[in-house]
Symmetry: C2
Subunit: 330 residues, 2 copies
Amino acid sequence: MPARVAVDALGGDDAPAAVVRGALDAVASDPDLEVLLVGDPALIGAAARDSERVRVVPAAAAVAQDADPAEAVRADPPPSVAAAARLVRDGEADALVSAGHSGATLAAAVLLVGRAPGVSRPALAAVLPGATGPTVLVDAGANMDATARQLHEFAHLGCAFAEDVLGVRDATCGLLAIGEEPGKGDQRVKEAHALIAADPALRYRGSVEGRDALTSKVDVIVADGFAGNVLLKTCEGTAREAFRRVRAEATGPRAALGGLLLRPALRRVRDDLDPDTYGGAHLLGARGVAVVAHGAARPHGIAQACRYAAEGVRAGLPDRIAARMAALGG
Amino acid sequence: MPARVAVDALGGDDAPAAVVRGALDAVASDPDLEVLLVGDPALIGAAARDSERVRVVPAAAAVAQDADPAEAVRADPPPSVAAAARLVRDGEADALVSAGHSGATLAAAVLLVGRAPGVSRPALAAVLPGATGPTVLVDAGANMDATARQLHEFAHLGCAFAEDVLGVRDATCGLLAIGEEPGKGDQRVKEAHALIAADPALRYRGSVEGRDALTSKVDVIVADGFAGNVLLKTCEGTAREAFRRVRAEATGPRAALGGLLLRPALRRVRDDLDPDTYGGAHLLGARGVAVVAHGAARPHGIAQACRYAAEGVRAGLPDRIAARMAALGG
């Protein structure tokens, strides 16, 4: 059975053009993928009608960047991201992808698709390019003010994702802290450390620090959404700035030649550190698959996000998470 | 009048040898610097007696890495870092430098030297190598669970440091958040945003994100100690890992030659991003100057930390901060 992905065609800096282009590219490259483009048919254009595996579902408008997410997704008529989420809720689609207002995408998934049983707060999973494989960072920015108990849940969500979608075997996890001593951090981290360390179902390796973001010390880094987002964006920004400075410093004929000869290596490292590799972040713990794509996503990023959502569908991610949380509760 | 720096000779991974060597190098390079080496005279050795501007002050032992900081610095006899802090308290030294247990150094400064009037929580100032100049990050890890009011104080501490020690003119500040929208983050960040934005004595530029760590968007990044430490260590770790990967990818004769030709540029960028540039972090808001050096500091790092402490003394940092906080309270 094909994976059916509802794409918010109106969300994103370059929507609808880049979104439609990316979704069509994803369909062209994956014979088992169906896409439902949700938005104004006049804006989506005729290109979308060329494939049997593309359907256009009319919806009014995107959510404005300054809108309140919870209010926006409940508006009538529903904005495009809410209409897409309803398709998942009603079983007409398996996954939701949006590059629009990320808070609205999260709200649509949580409020309209709903939480998986046993999950108190769905969380965003970003994937960092670790030294020896992918590292899941959860929560990457969905939940501010998460409790210690929720951090414990995030550990399970992240390990389920690493194992079931990324194919990591026996995923290990660590708790983001500010020293190697167990649980060094604020009060919440200390409490979460105690909960996670006492859970025999997790392969807990203790504290990890910001400097371990890319070293593959653990497969899953558990953090609250604030610290997790700081880590993610600092990682992206530092890599970008380091390469910018190498370019800026490579002046004069010797260095220019050196840069030319070294370019393939520099490109490989830069591309490896590029946040667009995965096209977005999975929201873990909803009743369906949801991928928050980058607002500035180009067609390539949207296509990646659609493929990435399909991987979650094929892995049966929501069911896997529900089963894992049920075992935890029992 | 020379700057008198009390150095914890027994604190640090390579103490006392690296610490003594670094302190003597600092004295040799700065005719207006006096150093008091605090620790066991037998361990410090005879080299320290070669200069008129070096004194050895006997003290028992360093603080063990697993000790409780507040208890350790109050022990009798006092450990070396506490003995050094007492010299500052008693007016025999102007500054404290330690590469030992950082929590103990903070505790010694706060409990023995004391807080400046108007400062509720002294905070650590790390300096990040921004694109167009230094960027102060405060708090870099001293205070977990800081309140919104304390974050507001950190903004003043950071701006005082940027202007009075680093020579930044009309320092601007931003609050670490997770989106560009004002105050996007947890509850504490929202409250701190309101306090800082309403303060006409600050040049507040709104939210900054992890991706702005090195872009010089603002001169001072305000954060609580947990998120600040995550940002600092992610920055260091990502830069290190990016260069490691470039080296690892630069295989084959073409790339090797390219690496050779580009080496000066790569070195400049790497050195610029090296956390040892400043030798440590100033603790802002104590009644004296205190610099927390890296535990793994080599002699070069210790020498830098001593010079850096002397800069704080010459700038009259504690008095400047006290004056600024008095104006804020009035």
